[in-house]
């Protein structure tokens, strides 16, 4: 299972150990729980993370991401459950003996030490010879592209440079798993986007398993091999970015990742799975409905860009067809988003790429439009 030699990435090579029943995860979290008084911060979380993964914990602020990460690092004691790292039980091991490292949201650089001494700190604790420490510090500084900044103090660096030094310091010990708590949150937007790709490159180069915490869905979608979406201490879904977007397993996940239109309805029995929805004002055909019973309540989720917008009325009695008037148009340059008020009163969002010049746009305010989509473009959600 040599998947993480330097220069290769598990996910991008198409290797998907999470689908392989024989693969053993490097990090195995089972039924992990932690409460602070009445607040259940982490609630019976099960997670398997594989070697070389770039794994993202994604969720809104306060959903327990940091608490989960801190338990992995050893700063917080779980109330129950277990953490196995590379076959060894870590649950009761203190942080200074765990072969994992953490990059702190605040970076937590030691202000009284130079950059070099910050990076060397962890190696000194291992009692490595001075020559090797020096070489590895230089190597780490080169990796984050700040080779000449070793003599500076943290307060003499910019925010972006501090972020890189914090990364170098946590990588230099070559941990089995690197934990990153909102590593890009403190950077401004442009730098954040550049750094996302750089983090991916660095991870591919060093081949260390990354577990990253973020509340930013774009960040998770860009960087991660797999994402665990968290909701109030629980894992809502674990899947690849593509699956999370195209096949969310709940309204919560569908709504959290990107924009989505939801139509509540009931499954009508019959040959083809058909949903009758008062909200949509039409019948909706589903591509498939495995394990669904007739009469069951469900929600049909359609992403804005899956709609086909047209001013031509469809033949009467068509399925998968909404009708309404354009309420609002948002011009975003590459795409336009339309807020459309359906005849049923529900507001939906549709998006269309601006393939033609704006002046030639045909749809405008108060136009009556019709939205259509193919059955494969929608997902049925049960909760």
């Amino acid at each position: 299972m040599a998947i993480s030699t330097p220069g290769s990435s598990a996910a991008r090579r198409g290797y998907e150990p999470w689908d392989d029943p024989n693969a053993t995860p490097i990090l195995k979290i089972a039924a992990l729980s932690k409460s602070f008084g009445p607040v259940v911060a982490v609630d019976r979380v099960d997670l398997n993370i594989f070697k070389g993964e770039f794994f993202a914990l994604l969720g809104p602020s306060g959903c327990g991401k940091t608490t989960l990460l801190r338990m992995l690092a050893g700063f917080d004691r779980p109330d129950s459950g277990s953490i196995m790292l590379d076959g060894a039980d870590m649950t009761a091991v203190p942080p200074y003996r765990r072969p994992v490292n953490m990059m702190f949201q605040s970076y937590a650089l030691f202000p009284h030490m130079s950059v070099e001494r910050n990076i060397a700190f962890g190696l000194k604790q291992e009692g490595l010879p001075a020559r090797e420490i020096k070489a590895r510090v230089a190597e780490a500084l080169a990796l984050v592209q700040l080779p000449d900044h070793g003599k500076r103090k943290p307060h003499q660096l910019s925010g972006g440079q501090r972020q890189r030094i914090a990364l170098a310091r946590s990588l230099v010990k070559r941990p089995k798993v690197l934990l990153l708590d909102e590593p890009l949150a403190a950077l401004d937007r442009k730098l954040r986007e550049e750094t996302q790709f750089e983090l991916i490159n660095i991870q591919e180069k060093v081949g260390i398993t990354f577990v990253i915490v973020t509340h930013d869905q774009d960040e998770a979608m860009t960087m991660a091999s797999r994402i665990a979406v968290m909701d109030r201490g629980r894992i809502a879904q674990i899947a690849t970015p593509g699956e999370i977007y195209e096949q969310p397993n709940s309204r919560y996940v569908a709504d959290f990742i990107g924009k989505v239109n939801l139509f509540e309805g009931n499954l009508v029995g019959g040959e083809t799975p058909l949903v009758r929805s008062a909200e949509a004002g039409c019948d909706i055909v589903l591509a498939d409905a495995p394990g669904l019973r007739a009469g069951q309540r469900l929600w049909v989720a359609v992403r804005p860009e899956k709609f086909e917008i047209s001013r031509e009325p469809p033949p009467p009695g068509s399925t998968n067809c909404l009708s309404g008037v354009v309420w609002d148009i948002g011009y975003l340059g590459d795409v336009s988003t339309y807020r459309i008020k359906l005849d049923t009163g529900k507001m939906v969002v549709a998006a269309e790429a601006n393939r033609v010049r704006r002046t030639e746009r045909t749809i405008t305010w108060e136009d009556r439009v019709y939205l259509r989509w193919t059955p494969r473009a929608a997902v049925a959600l049960l909760n």
Binding site: A73, P95, Y96, N101, F104, K173
Partner: protein, 315 residues
């Protein structure tokens, strides 16, 4: 989250706005005026007296300036260096100086040793406890210093509380002679000056980012080592401030050695006192005071310069 300690909140919310309303020139002028009126002027007077000779009159020293004397000079200054020579010749004085410095140094070290864990515990206590803990540190100041030192006589004397307690425990059968020894002086000084060590230490430790210790642990550093490598270096401003606040007044301390010390407890403050009030030799007493001041001010000024140079170098 509100991270302000009660002390810094006081300055941030009330003191700073009040100060900022004062015109700039005045704001700078006030501390200088203060220094001039309450430090430099008395210093000049004492300096003048230190060059005079004692006499049985009111005031009990000769004037060193003369206008239109018998010799016909319009203005003459007569400096008497004898007082300073006496300080060098008579080993009583420099022994008293050295002993004061020794007692101050040891007391400062003891206060630091005791105060650091206290300040650390206060800074790491749950947030709602910190205010009350600071209050408890300040509470003794509500009684007179003199009364508190007197109370120690009751505790330390032969048939006092401490000896009674130790005898009751059966640890000793004869009362220990603590009162009127150097040990009693150390106890009194450390007790009295501990808040001056704890409060600045607390102020720096409370500001310290706890995630730095977590980062140290994460990088493989055990807690005790992290205390040395991270906490202590970062608490340095507090350690320096606290040590100065203890060391400097203790060197000149009069009351504690007088009440708790023995006749052999030699401290320069006591010497100064007896020169002024027992011998009524104001000029010698003034010379003692001037030398004491130089002894304290010169090293502090040098140290300040050193800090400034270091700060410039790292900037």
């Amino acid at each position: 989250m509100n991270n302000l300690s009660p002390l810094s909140e006081l300055t941030e919310r009330w003191l700073r706005p009040a100060v900022e309303r004062v015109p700039r020139g005045l704001a700078i002028g006030i501390p200088y005026a203060w220094l001039l009126i309450f430090f430099l002027a008395p210093f000049a007077i004492v300096l003048k007296i230190s060059f005079a000779e004692p006499q049985l009159a009111m005031p009990p020293y000769t004037s060193i300036f003369e206008f239109l004397n018998e010799a016909g000079d319009y203005f003459s200054v007569e400096l008497n260096l004898g007082n300073y020579l006496l300080l060098i010749e008579d080993d009583l004085y420099w022994r008293a100086y050295l002993n004061s410095l020794k007692i101050a140094a040891i007391s400062t070290a003891l206060a630091l040793l005791l105060g650091f864990p206290m300040a650390y515990a206060m800074a790491r206590a749950p947030e709602r406890w910190r205010g009350p803990l600071v209050m408890m540190m300040i509470l003794p100041f509500w009684t007179s210093f003199l009364i508190r030192v007197y109370a120690w006589i009751g505790i330390l004397k032969g048939e006092g509380l401490l000896n009674g307690f130790l005898q009751w425990l059966g640890l000793i059968d004869q009362p220990l002679a603590i009162l009127n020894t150097d040990i009693a002086v150390y106890i009194g000084i450390v007790y009295s000056y501990l808040p001056f060590m704890v409060l600045p230490l607390y102020a720096t430790l409370e500001k310290m980012d706890e995630s730095l210790l977590e980062a140290a642990a994460d990088l493989g550093c055990r807690p005790f080592k992290a205390l040395w490598k991270i906490t202590v270096p970062l608490a340095r401003p507090g350690i320096i401030a606290g040590s100065c606040l203890v060391f400097i007044p203790v060197v000149g301390e009069v009351v504690i050695p007088d009440l708790l010390g023995g006749s052999e407890t030699l401290m320069i403050g006591r010497t100064l006192w007896s020169e002024f009030f027992t011998n009524r030799d104001w000029p010698v007493a003034s010379a003692v005071a001037i030398v004491l001041l130089l002894l304290l001010v010169v090293p502090i000024a040098l140290f300040q310069r050193h800090l400034l140079v270091r700060a410039e170098a790292t900037r």
